[in-house]
Amino acid sequence: MRFTEVLAFAVRGVAANKLRSALTTLGILIGVASVILLIAVGNGASAAVQQSIAGLGTNVLTISPQRAQPGTSAKPLTTADATALADPAEAPAVKSASPVASASATASHAGVSYSIGQFLGTDPAYFGTTNSAVARGALFSADDLAHARKVVVIGATVATQLFPGSDPVGESILVNNIPFTVVGVLAAKGSSGLQDADDTAIAPLSTVQNALTGYGSLSQIVVQATSADTLTAATAQVATILDGRHRIGFGQTADYRLLSQEQLLTARTATTDTFTVLLASVAAISLLVGGIGVTNIMLVTVTERIREIGIRKAVGARRPAILGQFLLEATMLSLFGGALGVAAGFIGTRFTIAGIKPVIVPSSVLLAFAVSALIGLFFGSYPAHRAARLRPIEALRHE
């Protein structure tokens, strides 16, 4: 018996049992599509976090204060610390060190008030270090810093909140009831999935300390190394200088914390990895449910199919011909369902889901397709495999 004849039987079998074929295809489709989609969402979330952190640059070092150990007194991070770190003689690998003070601030304009996510005071070098570009107007200058002028550069979110539909540059806003002039609007960076990087406003450090926070502790010093390669050298130089200034002896725990963007990246990636694993297990469950659905349909129709096998054997079909037909039927349904599932997955990932732009993981496509195809193949051909071994009369009498 030729292969084309077996294939023709299989095609006819699929066409003759339309409901069964449709349900099987649907079960596999849902399984495959949900695996692809859910893993893509997880991957999209972590990609967004990585991108937002990578946007800061790989040559950036963040120093933040750390609570003192019992029995020691912690020295705050000060502007003087930042100045010392920027000394080219002591720290040749350091390009710039920007002191950062942060305040909680509510800004208002023309009766609209808005609580800004991050209100920072820093120096102009900070913009370069954090890859912040200006979209409209200008950044503030070293001169503004020196004279503690009440100027502010606002992020895209703040701009749309306070100035819907109008140009904020040159306008005046009240920050905690102190008038500031908006000199520029930053280019949008987008959401990292966890935090809106555009919900920010940045003013000269001197102004912020003068008007809002006082001259106490800084919240951060952001250091930029001369290049990504000198980051390790810069880290060592920064640690030496700060240990000296804060009188941290050998073996003592420092009262500050040094974090490179790479470490930050690792920490954040670990969080989103957990998220991805969670989604992947949900996906695996839906694949399983799809598989059970397929199995169910196959088993429900198997009595009829076993009788059919009995008829075929009674008129002289040999075992390989029967197995071939049922295997091909299952293969066609699985591949068809799998292909539709992949298509549905690809279409689904073009939409933004819960604020996350899904990014397809190629291996998940392969995995979902392979697993569902195997489920379809196994449960499609297993009953046939058993029935083909029966004597014709046993298969015909099957109930």
Binding site: M1, R2, E5, F9, R12, A16, N17, E304, R307, E308, G310, I311, R312, K313, A314, V315, G316, A317, R318, R319, A321, R391, P392, I393, E394, L396
Partner: protein, 228 residues
Amino acid sequence: MTAPVIEVRALRKTYGSGDTAVHALRGLDLTVRRGEYLAIMGASGSGKSTLLNVLGCLDVPTSGHYLLDGIDTADFGEAQLSLMRNRKIGFVFQSFNLIPRTSALANVELPLVYAGIRRAERRARANAALRLVGLADRAHHRPNELSGGQQQRVAIARALVTGPAIVLADEPTGNLDTRSSQDVMAILDGLHAGGRTVVLITHEDDVAAHANRVVRVVDGQIAQEVRA
């Protein structure tokens, strides 16, 4: 006297085991010669269908011998049994056993496909078989679009399409009215007239009257031979 095509010796068939064992055939002997037209009668549960299923190579006996054309079927493997069912024997079931949602023509073609016959020839032979049973105009109907009598005639067309030497029919008229029964019996008479060996099971005397020999099965054995 022509040579025996079917020779059954001390045939036993037991379903199940232990206390619940059913002895459907208890050492049955039967010889059918080439070209014979045999009717098997007997009470319900006496073992007629069991016997015919063994003769049709659809089932295997528990013990005893079944010689088909002088060869013991116990020596046959799965491939050879398939070949016998395909080429040598045409089987007609009481319950038709057509493949659902498949046209009459495709059902009749089925044995020819497994015989490896090419499409064009298959078509021609299947159509000829349908014409023989008077269903040429129903070739593209599905079983659920046919009456019981028509379904049985399709089943007979399927049984005779490979040109088998033996046609076995298990109560071929059991589910049919008088008119349809006559149609079916006319076809079987024609097959016998064409030289084939025909064995059928029936409960009806007027059906058995078509045969030239009648045997009665009682409790899994041939109890009585009635020459018609």
